[in-house]
């Protein structure tokens, strides 16, 4: 199901930061606008119905156990509070490495996600493990700062050892139709990130329409995002099954067209095992097994981990667990 207009330039395979295929699209503001507005409109009712119907799948017993372990391994364990202390970040890092200290077969989380000034602390606490350190940057969560400031923020995080950078787009510019500015900003941050993988946050709750989410997804991918991410977790509407499904369709179509695989990260508002499993069903049914891995799909969450651990204990022991048996973060 192709969802984007045919491109004139030949398709290129591989994971280059910017796909040359889109050189003509990004040549000017008007070509970029024509391309993004030429994307097919989203059938909102159909999208929500599809997301809801995939959410009714019954996942039980061994499939559930697999899904829980997979979901744990996909979590970016996040603390983004004004009150974050080095102690809290270290505690979170310890939890990422051993989510359930009473059961060492529990998989590790994918990463710990912190503010740039806590990257060094997190890095030290995670030394010698394969848990990554992700850092938000570019004046997170509002993104309202000059480009220089955003780039300095990014370079700081990378210099402190961040393996992944979670940037926010300039929603003001996007909504004003200034797509080229958003594009160039993502390009600049991608360059400043160096080897770190770049996750681009759209803050879907602020983009108002599904059409905008589709446009933002393509814009982010054309600009070289390694991951596209729904939300900051700081606004009232965060990741929903529908907007995540839409972004999964975008990465699927992008790979079909360019051969470049881009990851997806829903973040915010995913609190229960049931929700997490619904998202995994969406992944499997939309983009397939290639994305069922923490290199390509992540959950931005904090309280979700505790619920997954309680469900894991329930599967192991047969009795319902309670919040007294997991850590309080």
């Amino acid at each position: 199901m192709p969802t984007s207009p045919k491109l004139s330039a030949p398709l290129e395979q591989g994971g280059a930061p910017t796909t040359p295929a889109f050189a003509d699209v990004t040549a000017s503001d008007s070509t970029l606008r024509r391309f993004l507005h030429g994307l097919p409109g989203v059938d909102a009712v159909g999208l929500e119905a599809r997301a809801a119907s995939l959410g009714t799948r019954s996942i039980k017993t061994t499939a559930k156990a697999y899904a829980i372990d997979l979901a744990i391994s996909m979590i970016d364990l996040t603390t983004l509070e004004g009150a974050d202390t080095p102690g809290k970040v270290r505690a979170l890092a310890a939890k990422a490495v051993h989510p359930d200290p009473t059961d060492r077969t529990t998989p590790r989380t994918a990463a710990v996600c912190v503010y740039p000034d806590m990257v060094a602390t997190a890095k030290a606490a995670l030394a010698g493990t394969d848990v990554k350190v992700a850092s938000v940057a570019t004046a997170f969560p509002a993104g309202r700062a000059a480009l220089d400031v955003k780039l300095a923020d990014t370079r700081d995080a990378v210099a402190a050892g961040a393996d992944e950078i979670d940037m926010v787009i300039d929603r003001g510019a996007f909504l004003a139709g200034d797509y080229l500015k958003v594009y160039e900003e993502i390009r600049a941050v991608k360059e400043a990130s160096g080897a770190a993988r770049l996750k681009v946050i759209f803050e879907t709750g602020e983009l108002s329409t599904y059409d905008n989410i589709r446009r933002a997804s393509w814009l982010g991918m054309i600009a070289g995002a390694d991951f596209i991410k729904t939300s900051t977790g700081k606004v009232s509407v965060n990741a929903t099954p529908a907007n995540t499904l839409l972004m999964l369709e975008a990465v699927r179509d992008f790979r079909a067209q360019t051969g470049v695989q881009v990851g997806v990260k829903p973040a915010g508002g995913i609190r229960t095992t049931k929700d997490a499993i619904k998202f995994l069903v969406l992944v499997n049914e939309t983009v397939g097994e290639d994305w069922l891995d923490n290199h390509w799909f992540r959950f931005g969450a904090s309280s979700l981990l505790n619920d997954l651990l309680m469900q894991r204990q329930k599967l192991a022991t047969g009795r319902y667990s309670g919040p007294d048996y997991v850590t309080v973060d």
Binding site: Q313, G318, R319, Y320, P323
Partner: protein
């Protein structure tokens, strides 16, 4: 004569302040004492029990943190609402227990009085079971009762309303929250009690009422790590034994059935049901004196 068809009531569970159907979608037939069909009641599953525990846990902080006076006021309000719907309860109890209207009215009135009696205890129990303890040191040593937490209650099988009130009221009076398994063969008064509680300022989740098979719902509650205590009053000997073993796993408080052939709920209840689900917190505080001698001037 009008040929109006009366509107039949769909009895539903009461969980977290809402009236859901059973998650399983199942119902079972409830009959009166002579076997005549009365209504369909939800046949709860273990997932309904799990949801009820989540609701009860969520409500615990607010309810246990409310002042004892405030809890008392709310429980009085429940009694006022019960009084207003007395006719309905008289009818349901008469059907369920095979009593005449007059005898059922006596039972319902006793139940409402029982509720008022427990409402009065909310701000008095601390004086009875708490207090200052004499200790061998320069300390004030004070004990206060604290609620145990989420209490699962297997309600009496025979006494469908007076017995129910007698087990639920003392548990919530002291600040616990409850998951109640109604009598299997006479669940209708319990499900109607949920409707009264929903309109009495009682925060949602403080009392959660499930109907169905005690053996099916009580087992996961007894093993549940987030349930702090279980009242086995309505469990038969065999089930009580089984539940007690399951409850040992996280050291739940267990209140065993008082009598083999069922308790007499018309008798003076005493305070044992109030104190069964209380923990004692003791605080040591220095008296501040620097020695026995005091100041020299």
């Amino acid at each position: 004569m009008s040929d109006r068809l009366s509107v039949l009531k769909t009895y539903k569970l009461y969980v977290g302040g809402k009236f859901p159907r059973s998650e399983s979608g199942r119902v079972y037939e409830v009959t009166d004492s002579k076997g005549k069909w009365l209504a369909n009641a939800p046949l709860s599953s273990r997932k309904d029990a799990r949801d009820a525990v989540v609701a009860a846990r969520k409500a615990f902080g607010g309810w246990s943190g409310a002042t004892a006076y405030n809890r008392g006021q709310i429980l009085y309000r429940v009694a006022e609402m019960l009084e207003g719907r007395k006719d309905q309860f008289v009818r349901e109890v008469a059907d369920a227990e095979g009593l005449s209207r007059a005898k059922a009215a006596v039972v319902v009135e006793a139940a409402i009085d029982r509720w008022v009696w427990y409402a009065g205890w909310t701000d008095k129990i601390a004086q009875v079971v708490g207090g200052a303890n004499p200790v061998a040191g320069p300390f004030f040593n004070l004990s206060t009762p604290e609620p145990t937490g989420v209490v699962a209650i297997v309600a009496p099988r025979e006494s469908s309303f007076l017995g129910l009130v007698s087990v639920v009221a003392p548990v919530i009076a002291t600040g616990n929250t409850a998951v109640v398994i109604a009598s299997e063969k006479a669940p209708l008064p319990a499900l109607s009690l949920g409707e009264v509680l929903a309109t009495s300022d009682l925060p949602g989740g403080v009392v959660n009422v499930l109907s169905g098979k005690a053996a099916e719902i009580a087992a996961p509650l007894a093993a549940h790590q987030d349930v702090n205590a279980i009242d086995l009053t309505g469990a038969d000997q065999e089930l009580a034994r089984e539940l007690e073993i399951a409850a040992a796993d996280n050291l739940k408080r267990v209140l065993r059935p008082q009598a083999v052939d069922g308790e007499d709920f018309t008798a003076d209840p005493g305070t044992h049901r109030l104190t069964a689900f209380l923990e004692t917190k003791t605080v040591w505080h220095p008296t501040g004196s620097l020695g026995a001698s005091g100041s020299a001037y």
